[in-house]
């Protein structure tokens, strides 16, 4: 371990204060202040945080490797000898994440000023966006698990509120419920993981939830506990980061405003799970079995989501599945021990995926909210800037050599191969091919071919205003060049981001240059063949996809219907829970069962309308009977106890 120093840096608090002020202002004064001031305040809050992050980065780079900046807000909870401070810690890992969150966040806030230009509820929208930025900063800067959990819950809440921003009630009732249930399952995993880890340390006399301290003393934790805690945390990560089995909420989340999808459901929040696993890397490295699970879930999710993305026609849904797939890559990297590569992929993914969403938003903006790709096509001349920037992003996500996605994905696949996960590496390569296919399918369907835009919308087709296109251009530049901070070791200036992160996330094995080159070549070839296939299908011979779909029949239907997983979950989880609540407890136990007890089985058997009429409760005597049954149970317990012990 490299010996760094920890330096007090109070300006970190300011980084949280700025968005917090933005929230308060927008929530309570926003409507009165008017649109222009709201725009300025909310963007300034995030940009200010970004500038502070740059300043902090400068300070950090001046310190020896492995150092960190810290600031303490106040001491929060005491349980036994356990003291939990609300403290901030700005080390290399947090630095990268903070820059991504505030940097990409700034760009998306700027874009939102244009995108939400007509919405009457802009103040509320920006209040939520600033609150989200605040929570996300807490999540990445928190120096202990509990503080991180505050941010974790906060981003979840904001995501929920922002998804709901444009929902109509009926949809929300169903989708919101699903998103919520699924996410809470993950959160329960996280919370139980915290308890497990805290208890494990406490049993060895160490009372802490602080990352640095836990990392130092991780050897105190037995591998069984580490496995359990690791799996629980990973369950939390699958919920937040939309991995199998808890990914189902993300595609539904796409009904929110597009900047929200870009910020929350692509660039930042959904990668929080990866960040958490990287942050707890010291825990995962204790247990190879957990690492295997992480890697396998990641690779399988990547592949699975890519296949679903092939058959979707809603542009944002394709992007949602592509996000799930890319995060799968990140977990593959993390599971293979290459936490640095996973974080690197978070960075590049934030650039190109935010760009893709914002580009899609620009298209939708031009088409009056149309999301169905079967009603797009031939847009490249009408939307030149959007087209050009989307092309860069699509090339980047396809991992064409030289674009940002290439470097990070390459590192991940190399790590998977080197660590001996040959099957998962193979799956990753196939997925790379699929990525090329479905992304260029999206690209060609949108911008090339015959225009399928509804005639009524054609005259009003226009490129988006500058406040929206400038962010696109900035992101395009980043997608193009952002990967160059992590070149393969030994090439030019080498893997700068990897070296920067190494003291925090550790080192991975690498392979000799020639072998690495061969691995890259295979992956790139797969990606490019996907690209070519997409060209053939959607530009050169547009009739082909129909025939292919007809030919594959059931498989295509399964893909289109997302393997029917939503239906399965609804059947297995959501409905039983509500059935239990609604029918079992409410109607049956409270009334039916007791009614049966009172009047004998005959009454219950009378059935029909009579039974329904008789299955009335609110009857005070049923309550008394419940009470009596409870009382008898308690008495029976005591009798039993006294017989056993008396």
């Amino acid at each position: 371990m490299v010996n760094g120093v920890v330096v007090e840096f109070p300006a970190l608090k300011l980084m949280l204060l700025l968005p917090a002020l933005g929230v308060v202002f927008n929530l309570f004064l926003g409507r009165r202040a008017g649109r222009a001031i709201v725009n300025v305040v909310s963007v300034a809050a995030v940009v200010g945080a970004f500038l502070l992050a740059l300043w902090a980065l400068g300070e950090l780079l001046a310190l020896p490797a492995g150092s960190a900046l810290k600031a303490t807000l106040w001491s929060w909870i005491y349980v036994g000898p356990l003291q939990i401070d609300l403290g901030l810690r700005f080390d290399a890992l947090a630095a990268v994440m903070t820059l991504v969150v505030s940097g990409v966040g700034s760009i998306i806030h700027l874009y939102s000023c244009g995108y939400m230009g007509e919405d009457p509820d802009y103040a509320r929208f920006f209040a939520y966006m600033n609150l989200f930025t605040l929570s996300m900063l807490v999540l990445v800067l928190g120096n202990n698990l509990l503080f991180m959990f505050i941010g974790w819950e906060g981003v979840g809440l904001c995501s929920y509120l922002l998804i709901a921003f444009w929902y109509d009630n009926a949809q929300f009732a169903y989708n919101g419920r699903k998103a919520f249930v699924v996410n809470r399952i993950g959160d329960a995993g996280f919370l139980l993981g915290i308890f497990a880890l805290a208890a494990a340390f406490a049993s060895r006399g160490l009372w802490t939830l602080d990352f640095a301290a836990m990392r130092e003393h991780i050897s105190l934790v037995s591998s069984a506990v580490a496995t359990m805690a690791g799996l629980l945390f990973f369950l939390g990560a699958t919920g937040k980061s939309a991995q199998i089995p808890l990914y189902v909420w993300l595609p539904d989340a796409m009904v929110g405003p597009t900047p929200v999808s870009a910020l929350i459901h692509a660039a930042t929040m959904v990668t929080a799970g990866v960040y958490m696993v990287a942050r707890l890397g010291f825990l995962y490295q204790l247990t190879p079995a957990t690492m295997e699970v992480v890697a396998a879930v990641g690779a399988i999710t990547a592949f699975f989501a890519a296949t679903v993305a092939l058959a979707q026609s809603d542009i944002k849904r394709v992007l949602a599945y592509s996000t799930i797939s890319q995060i799968g890559y990140m977990f593959l990297g993390a599971g293979a021990g290459a936490f640095g590569a996973a974080i690197f992929h978070i960075v590049t993914h934030a650039f190109f995926k935010a760009l893709l969403f914002l580009g899609a938003g620009s298209v939708m903006h031009a088409l009056g909210g149309e999301q169905d790709m079967s009603r797009m096509g031939g847009l490249r001349r009408k939307l030149p800037v959007t087209h050009a920037t989307m092309l860069v992003a699509t090339l980047a996500i396809t991992a064409v050599p030289g674009f940002s996605g290439f470097f990070s994905k390459d590192e991940i696949l190399e790590a998977a191969y080197v660590s001996g996960h040959y099957w998962l590496w193979g799956l990753g390569v196939i997925t790379a091919g699929l990525t090329g296919l479905y992304m260029f399918r999206l690209f060609f369907l949108t911008f090339y071919g015959r225009s399928r835009v509804e005639a009524a919308r054609l005259p009003r087709l226009h490129e988006s205003p500058a406040v929206m296109t400038i962010p696109l251009v900035i992101l395009a530049l980043l997608s193009l060049g952002g990967g160059w901070i992590g070149l393969p070791a030994g090439m030019l200036w080498g893997d700068r981001i990897g070296e920067f992160l190494r003291p925090v996330v550790g080192q991975v094995k690498s392979v000799p240059g020639l072998e690495a080159l061969a691995l890259s070549a295979v992956a790139s070839a797969a990606a490019l063949s996907g690209l070519v296939l997409a060209f053939v299908f959607y530009v050169a011979a547009p009739g082909l996809p129909e025939r292919a779909a007809a030919w594959s029949g059931a498989l295509y239907r399964a893909l289109r219907e997302k393997y029917y997983v939503d239906e399965l979950y609804d059947f297995l989880v959501t409905r039983p829970l509500f059935f239990l609540s609604d029918v079992a407890f409410d109607r049956v136990i409270d009334s039916y069962a007791i009614e049966g007890l009172v009047d004998g089985a005959a009454a219950a058997a009378r059935g029909g309308a009579a039974a329904i009429r008789r299955v009335e409760t609110g009857n005070v005597q049923h309550y008394a009977l419940t009470y009596l049954c409870g009382a008898l149970a308690v008495l029976a317990y005591c009798l039993y106890y006294s017989m056993r012990h008396g």
């Binding site: 909870i77 009630n169 919101g176 308890f195 609540s581 409410d586 309550y623």
Partner: protein, 501 residues
């Protein structure tokens, strides 16, 4: 000479009951003044009640810093008592603030309303201070009988009288069980003083006697009713729904705190020798209470009814803490009650503000679009829901964290896992309220002009919910000190188990 004797008697024995005495005198004053004034000046009566309660909250401090039996052991005066005197007085005062414009709006008989509120408060305080079985019974009944009538006080609303009647019938029914338990415990140990009972039960032969066990079981059943533990909970939703909203707030907060105060003192402080006996029963009650409360709450559309099931669920979490027993658990429960009280009071305050006169009872649909029309009210309600949900860093989360950690330290791993899963389920129905306010559209509604009292109550609840959660240390110290004082262990003893130094 005589005045000297009386003076000494006052000093020796009145100081500990200063707070309930002030409340009782205020109650009589309200009866006398109110019956003279007639119904026009209900607000004046409200402020009279409020000032009496505020004075009582101050007088509560007269009990701080001593641990002494008073009235020959009938009452116990210590920091624990002072803590609950204060909490109960504050809760009741907040309820008065909620009632100020509610009582005239619904044309409730204000003299009776405030007098009953005060006598219920006296009962709660006595229950919290009870040092023998008679006072437990008297406190419980003074509180309950007053609240029965308060629940039924809206005579024009048939649901109100139904709520009162149901609450009364089941309450009296459960009183029978509690009383039987008291009789058996008295018969087995030969004393009604808790201190003496505790000493008698040190002998293991007596502790295992069936009479003691039966008495204990009956008392569990009786208290189980008051704290709304499943399966003794069935009255809760109906009573909460039908009662006028401020009365519901009193039931959810005051009655519950007082009942837990008595229950906790009885079990954790005086019957720890029987923990092996009651621990198991409480385990099951806690598990059932959490699960049923949360699951049934999912299906509710009436907000008051939903809050009733939520109150049941929270009783379950508190029972988890009680199951764990010990200093850390006792302090955690006290802290939990503090956070729970303010979040709930706040939620009911919002309901009072939103409720329509012509149609009391608020459904989720009624909350639709509240965020647009009343952003402050909606934000406040969201805050309270988040705290009840247990979202950090609000009071609800910290309370749960303490209670669950105490249970974990005591080795109740599965109970904590169940509790964690339950709090996951609970987020759903709390979130529904937020969604209703922020997402759903609703018809523009004319609200009653809000009087300053209600705004003050809201502000206090908001501030408390945030402050108690964000900076819990002073409140945790207070809770730990209170429990330590009751348990007669050195304050540092509980600290060591609970607080870092």
């Amino acid at each position: 000479m005589i005045s000297g004797t009386i003076g000494a008697a006052l000093d020796a024995s009145w100081r500990p009951v200063l707070a309930p005495a002030v409340v009782a005198i205020t109650a009589m004053a309200v009866m006398l003044v109110g019956s003279r004034l007639g119904e026009e000046d209900s607000e004046g009566l409200g402020w009279l009640t409020f000032s009496g309660l505020a004075l009582a909250a101050l007088c509560a401090f007269a009990a701080v810093g001593r641990h002494a039996p008073a009235f020959a052991g009938a009452l116990i005066v210590d920091d624990y008592t002072a803590f609950f005197y204060c909490l109960i007085a504050v809760c009741a005062a907040m309820v008065v603030l909620l009632s100020l414009d509610y009582v005239p709006a619904l044309e409730l008989p204000s003299t009776e309303y405030y007098a009953l509120l005060l006598s219920a408060t006296v009962g709660m305080m006595l229950l919290a201070a009870a040092g023998d079985l008679i006072i437990i019974f008297l406190g419980l009944e003074t509180m309950s009988i007053s609240v029965y009538v308060m629940a039924a006080i809206a005579r024009r609303d048939p649901r109100s009288s139904e709520a009162g009647l149901k609450y009364f019938l089941l309450g009296a029914f459960s009183t029978g069980f509690l009383l039987y338990g008291i009789a058996l415990l008295y018969g087995a140990t030969g004393s009604i003083k808790l201190e003496a009972i505790s000493r008698a039960l040190q002998s293991s032969a007596l502790a295992a006697s069936p009479l003691v066990l039966l008495g204990l079981a009956m008392m569990l059943i009786g208290f189980g009713f008051k704290v709304a533990a499943v399966p003794f909970h069935a009255w809760t939703p109906d009573a909460y729904e039908g009662a006028p909203t401020p009365v519901t707030a009193l039931m959810a907060v005051g009655v519950k705190s007082a009942a837990f105060a008595g229950f906790l003192r009885l079990l954790l402080v005086y019957l720890p020798a029987l923990h092996a006996q009651w621990g198991g029963a409480l385990w099951v009650l806690a598990a059932l209470t959490m699960s049923v409360g949360n699951l049934v709450a999912l299906a509710q559309n009436n907000v008051k009814r939903m809050l009733a099931y939520s109150a049941i669920a929270h009783a379950g979490y508190i029972l988890v803490g009680m199951t764990a027993a010990g200093g850390a658990a006792g302090a955690a429960v006290l802290y939990y009650l503090l956070g729970y009280a303010f979040a709930n009071l706040g939620a009911f305050a919002v309901l009072v503000a939103v409720e329509r006169v012509e149609q009391p009872g608020t459904t989720l649909a009624d909350l639709g679009g509240l965020a647009k029309g009343q952003p402050m009210l909606a934000a406040a309600m969201a805050l309270f829901m988040l705290s009840l949900m247990g979202l950090p860093p609000l009071a609800g989360f910290v309370g749960k964290f303490y209670v669950f950690s105490a249970a974990l330290q005591a080795g109740y791993v599965w109970l904590v896992v169940l509790a964690a899963l339950n709090s996951v389920i609970s987020t759903y129905y709390y979130a529904r309220v937020i969604v209703a306010m922020y997402v759903n559209e609703g018809a523009e509604r004319k609200l009653r002009a809000r009087r300053p009292g209600l705004s003050v109550a809201l502000a206090v609840a908001i501030a408390a919910t945030i402050i108690i959660g964000v900076d819990p240390r002073p409140y945790v110290e207070m809770a730990a000190g209170a429990y330590a004082s009751a348990a007669g262990i050195a304050r540092s003893g509980v600290r060591a188990a609970f607080l870092a130094h």
